[in-house]
């Protein structure tokens, strides 16, 4: 079964066409990277797949559930990490994880297990007892990543997962994503850091001005355009 199927997806904001009839598919357990510059349409695509925005036209299926008519079912199996996400500042890190786990857990025991998993992912230890408002950007990002992965979602939608993080934090976040992918979570991520996407992704789509210009594995794309990395591929494709 395909994890995600996107067909002729279009999104207009008034006169502005943010996404223009794009098509792509993601296999189960795959890490799929959507790469492109700022304003290319990455965030809008991710928001649509995550059920936050409604498409102007086109079809989206997540694990066979149709976007629009089966949004509730999609929300139960996905997890979304927005690029500029924050957490409730008057809650502690632990309080935040406990609150979010409350939406997925079947009972108190299940909730405890979910939060335990999140604590393991964050590696924040006792700092989880502190209020989120005292966290650094890196700590907040780890907390949010843990929140999105603690439920072992079937599809994790990650918008710029390492955006604004330093080298060490980015490295740790990338390893966490890889680890979860190995455990069966399908990942749809976006980034304008093409080297990062090349390292993480099994398959990538190059998007610019709302259109997908090229799609394939990093190895195939590099070979096709005789490039050393995806950055060179993108420049070649756009030009």
């Amino acid at each position: 079964m395909k994890a995600v199927e996107v067909r002729k997806l279009t999104k207009n904001y008034g006169d502005l066409r943010a996404v223009d009839e794009i098509d792509f598919e993601i296999e189960e357990g795959e890490i799929f990277g959507l790469i492109g510059p700022n304003g290319a349409g990455k965030t809008t695509t991710l928001r649509i797949v995550s059920t936050i925005l409604t498409p102007s036209s086109g079809e989206v299926f997540v694990y066979g559930f149709e976007l629009g008519s089966e949004n509730d079912k999609i929300r139960e199996i996905i997890s979304y990490l927005p690029e500029e996400a924050g957490a409730y500042k008057n809650l502690t890190g632990f309080g935040y994880l406990d609150f979010m786990a409350g939406f997925y857990a079947k009972d108190v025991h299940d909730k405890g297990k979910i939060v335990e998993k999140a604590i393991e992912i964050t590696q924040l230890g006792d700092r989880l007892k502190d209020k989120v408002s005292t966290y650094s950007k890196g700590m907040t990002r780890k907390l949010l990543l843990a929140r999105s992965l603690m439920i072992h979602p079937r599809l994790a939608v990650l918008d710029e997962p390492t955006g604004g993080l330093d080298v060490v934090n980015s490295f740790e976040v990338r390893n966490i994503i890889k680890e979860f992918s190995k455990q069966g979570t399908t990942v749809l991520l976006s980034s304008h850091n093409m080297l990062e996407v090349e390292f993480l992704s099994d398959k990538v789509a190059l998007i610019d001005r709302g259109r997908i210009l090229e799609e394939g594995t990093p190895v195939d794309l590099k070979a096709k355009y005789k490039a050393r990395n995806l950055e060179e591929v993108f420049v070649e494709v756009v030009s």
Partner: protein, 421 residues
């Protein structure tokens, strides 16, 4: 349902912050302190007041005047000197702020109807409100003396006639009429008795509506400001539950805040007991609320809160952060204040037709007007008001839920800023 309570707990926690609690605690403490000070000052004011007296006449009449002062809640202290300056110094030393000087030919002048001048000195130490209260005491002293003398004169000139009959040859009997009922009471007493309803219910309503409005706007705006909204929209919970949770927690916190402020105000004004003495008059006039009336009032308050929550939600969706959300609420404040002031200072029925239509179009007006209408038996008017409030609330809630289920929740602010794609 668990998911809803999970949201409700978080939203309520988010609203009950130190920033919210500190001003409430300060206001309660401040009002309680001022109330206690005022209470003790009033209690002191009712105690017998000391006044210094220097009697240059020493006649039977001047002694009679001093006796009357003693009987009228004053303690007359003889200065023990016949010099005004020394008497003033004496009063100052004793902390007395009024000195009465009875002139030398006092009795003789009174008998000959020459209107002798009794000098009343007010010894002021400052210009505070307490000092200005001295003038009331001076007036009281003058009235006591004047009354004593006139009683004496009348007794001498009209033997066998009670002096009060000459002083007040007629008596007034106040009768208040309300519809087909009447009771012996002054309109001032009735107005004072109705104060709990005519003043306090509008204050409660104003506080609840404005606070609920601010609370829900804060909750929605904070989700945007803290960038938690997007995540919340992807969790497996019905979006209407997200909205409902915010409305319920805003209403809960608003009621708690209002109760706290009301408690502080009753402590300040010392009227928590209510006017018990005049309750018989109010009952006789039918100016009391029955259980049914209270039920209608409760329904009206409920729908006023619901309306304000729904309208505030719609406005808050278009704000970017908490500050802009509070600005967005300005029209609501105005629409709450209009009926609030009108019900306190005027009768809406005396307004011109366009103004009346405007007032009746504001859903909160009907709750502000409900108490008076229920007291005066205009139940039908209150029921029509509630029907209008129900329709208004449901239309607004429908719009709010539509917005909450649409992209506008996320992109509403984007019309003002650049779209991020």
């Amino acid at each position: 349902m668990n998911k809803f309570f999970n949201l409700l707990k978080k939203d309520t926690k988010e609203l009950i912050t130190v920033q919210l609690l500190i001003p409430i605690i300060i206001v309660i403490a401040m009002y309680s302190t001022i109330g206690n000070i005022m209470g003790s000052e009033m209690e002191r004011a009712t105690r017998p007041q000391q006044i210094a007296v220097v009697d240059f006449n020493g006649s039977a009449l001047s002694n009679q005047v001093i006796d009357m002062l003693e009987k009228s809640n004053f303690i007359a202290v003889e200065t023990g000197t016949f010099n005004v300056e020394d008497s003033i110094n004496f009063a100052r030393k004793k902390g007395i702020n009024i000195l009465v000087a009875i002139p030398e030919n006092f009795e003789e002048d009174v008998v000959n109807l020459k209107q002798p001048e009794v000098e009343i000195y007010s010894i002021m130490k400052g210009l505070s409100v307490r000092e200005t209260g001295t003038s009331t005491q001076v007036e009281a002293v003058f009235n006591v003396i004047s009354n004593a003398i006139s009683t004496n004169l009348i007794t001498q000139k009209f033997t066998g006639i009670p002096p009060d009959v000459i002083k007040q040859p007629i008596k007034a009997r106040d009768i208040v009429v309300v519809k087909d009922r009447m009771a012996q009471a002054s309109p001032a007493l009735v107005a004072q008795s109705a104060m709990n309803f005519s003043i306090f219910i509008p204050i409660i309503l104003m506080l609840v509506t404005i606070t609920s409005s601010q609370m829900i706007a804060s909750l929605i705006a904070l989700e945007k400001q803290n960038k938690t909204l997007e995540t919340l929209l992807t969790v497996p919970v019905n979006r209407n539950f997200i909205l409902l949770s915010k409305m319920v927690s805003a209403a809960i916190v608003a009621i708690i805040v209002t109760a706290a402020y009301l408690f502080a105000m009753t402590r300040f004004l010392g009227i928590s007991q209510g006017p018990q003495a005049s309750s018989d008059v109010m009952r006789a006039l039918g100016l009391t609320l029955t259980t049914g009336d209270f039920l209608l009032l409760g329904i009206s308050i409920f729908f006023a809160i619901l309306s304000v929550l729904a309208v505030s939600t719609i406005l808050a969706v278009y704000s970017e952060d908490e500050k802009s959300a509070q600005l967005m609420l300005t029209p609501i404040m105005v629409f709450v204040m209009i009926p609030y002031f009108l019900t306190i200072f005027t009768d809406v029925n005396t307004l011109s037709m366009p103004l009346r239509v405007l007032v009746y179009a504001i859903p909160f007006s009907h709750t502000f007007l409900a108490t008076n209408n229920l007291m005066f038996g205009n139940v039908q008017f209150v029921i029509y008001g509630i029907i209008y409030q129900i329709i208004f609330s449901f239309v607004c809630i429908l719009i709010a839920t539509r917005i909450f289920s649409s992209d506008r929740l996320l992109t509403g602010r984007l019309r003002l800023a650049r779209r991020r794609v």
